[in-house]
């Protein structure tokens, strides 16, 4: 009887061993939370996974993103330093003047300031308001000065996008807005970008904050256009600060730069 039982068990030794192995393996898998399964899944599905070059593409895209972010922070950092330096360098020289009048007709965007040549103001001086650039002095009397606002359609100035350094020029549109036309066909610009005066501008010093992009029209011919909203509230200004600036100095400086660069090229 016993012999028979043992023999039967002995005949079943292989299935039992296999069963034990399976249980042990399953327990092992359970204990390792399916690690081998996933390894196998990974091994099996590897031929169907994205290939190596795709991985590299993703990685390089990520790198590019990080590089772009770094560049942006660097540009911002530079800009902030510039602004800080600008404020500390220019503030003592600025002449604060109250705004005593607005344009005497409806087609010109002008303001009249309550200080003039008696305070050392000359034509072409730059006028800043709280928030950014406001305009340029066009005529001076002993105690008043007439300022042509940058919102006037006749005042054009070279500006650039602070973030991407895309350059263009801006034309006033009346009120609180202006139209910026880009030199590039596909400028890197989006709403919210900060606009400042560029070194192309001869009437204004470079690097002054002007405003923000509110909308972009890429399909405009001949060049893409963007609407700029001034950061200085043109319609509710009550005072302005005038900084010395003259066209001649700027032109001389740019002439000197170009001659220097020409000399560098020769070398």
């Amino acid at each position: 009887m016993l012999k028979n039982t043992i023999r039967r068990w002995w005949d079943l030794r292989l299935p039992i061993a296999l069963l034990g192995l399976a249980v042990t393996a399953a327990w092992g898998v359970r204990q390792t939370q399916g690690a081998p399964l996933f390894e196998v899944y990974n091994w099996v599905s590897r031929p169907f996974q994205a290939n190596g070059s795709g991985q590299e593409q993703l990685i390089s895209a990520r790198t590019q993103e990080l590089q772009a972010r770094l560049l942006e922070s660097e540009a911002q950092n530079e800009k902030l330093k510039e602004l800080l330096g600008y404020v500390s360098a220019k503030k003592p020289q600025g002449i604060v003047a109250p705004i005593v009048g607005r344009s005497a007709d409806h087609w010109w965007q002008q303001i009249t300031l309550g200080r003039g040549s008696n305070d050392g103001i000359k034509t072409d001086f730059t006028v800043m308001g709280p928030g950014g650039l406001v305009g340029r002095v066009v005529s001076v009397t002993p105690n008043t000065s007439l300022v042509l606002l940058i919102s006037d359609p006749t005042s054009q100035l070279g500006v650039g996008i602070t973030r991407s350094r895309n350059m263009g020029f801006m034309r006033g549109k009346g009120g609180n807005q202006a139209v910026m036309e880009f030199f590039d066909n596909v400028p890197n610009v989006k709403p919210g970008d900060v606009v400042s005066t560029s070194s192309f501008s001869q009437l204004f010093p470079a690097g002054l904050p002007v405003g923000k992009i509110v909308s972009v029209d890429m399909n405009k011919t001949p060049a893409p256009e963007a609407i700029v909203e001034f950061s200085a509230p043109m319609n509710s200004l009550e005072w302005a600060v005038i900084y010395p600036h003259s066209k001649e100095v700027e032109q001389k400086a740019s002439a000197g730069e170009s001659s220097a660069s020409a000399g560098g090229e020769k070398q």
Partner: protein
């Protein structure tokens, strides 16, 4: 009145001129201001235009007189803004039109003097004419795009016309009264 006329003596001949001069000066000085209630979308009444209409609407004004007064006022406004394009063109047209209109329609002067509605209506129309002429001049100069001029014109012409016509009686009635008074003084 008698005391007043005696006091001025000889100079009363220049009284009318004095009233004209001082009122133009006041209109010029009020141009750059933006007082609350006198402003719509940053646009104030066209005081010189109101003054010119008030001047041209009086009896015995000639076309040439109105035109030369328009030139004077236009040059004065040019001096306060920018010389190109000249405001004189629009103001000459306004002055001449006002005189021609009054003569061709033969509107009785006493109706205009009693009622504020005709003066307001005339100023409304003239303001639109003046701003249109300015817009055409900008177009002829060519440094502004047609679309910009058109959108500017709509805003400027409408606001200027509404405000100018509303404020026209404020200029016209005191001025007219003063002119009448000084003229009677000069005659006496």
């Amino acid at each position: 009145m008698k005391a007043l006329s005696r006091m001025f003596g000889r100079s009363r001949k220049f009284l009318n001129f004095g009233v004209t001069f001082v009122s133009v000066l006041l209109c010029l000085l009020i141009l750059p201001t933006r007082m609350p209630g006198m402003e719509l979308l940053g646009i104030s009444p066209n005081w010189l235009l109101i003054w010119l209409v008030a001047w041209s609407i009086k009896r015995k004004r000639t076309v040439w007189g109105a035109a030369s007064m328009g030139v004077v006022l236009g040059f004065l406004q040019d001096a306060m803004t920018a010389p190109n394009p000249s405001h004189a063109v629009s103001l000459v047209i306004v002055g001449v039109l006002t005189v021609v209109l009054l003569k061709s329609w033969s509107i009785p002067a006493d109706i205009v003097e009693r009622d504020p509605i005709p003066i307001a209506l005339i100023v409304f129309g003239m303001a639109v004419v003046a701003e249109t002429v300015m817009g055409l001049q900008f177009l002829a100069m060519g440094d502004r795009a047609l679309v910009e001029i058109w959108s500017d014109h709509q805003r400027v012409a409408l606001c200027s016309a509404i405000l100018s016509s509303l404020w026209a009686p404020v200029i016209y009635f005191p001025l007219n009264h003063l002119w009448e008074m000084t003229r009677s003084l000069e005659k006496s």
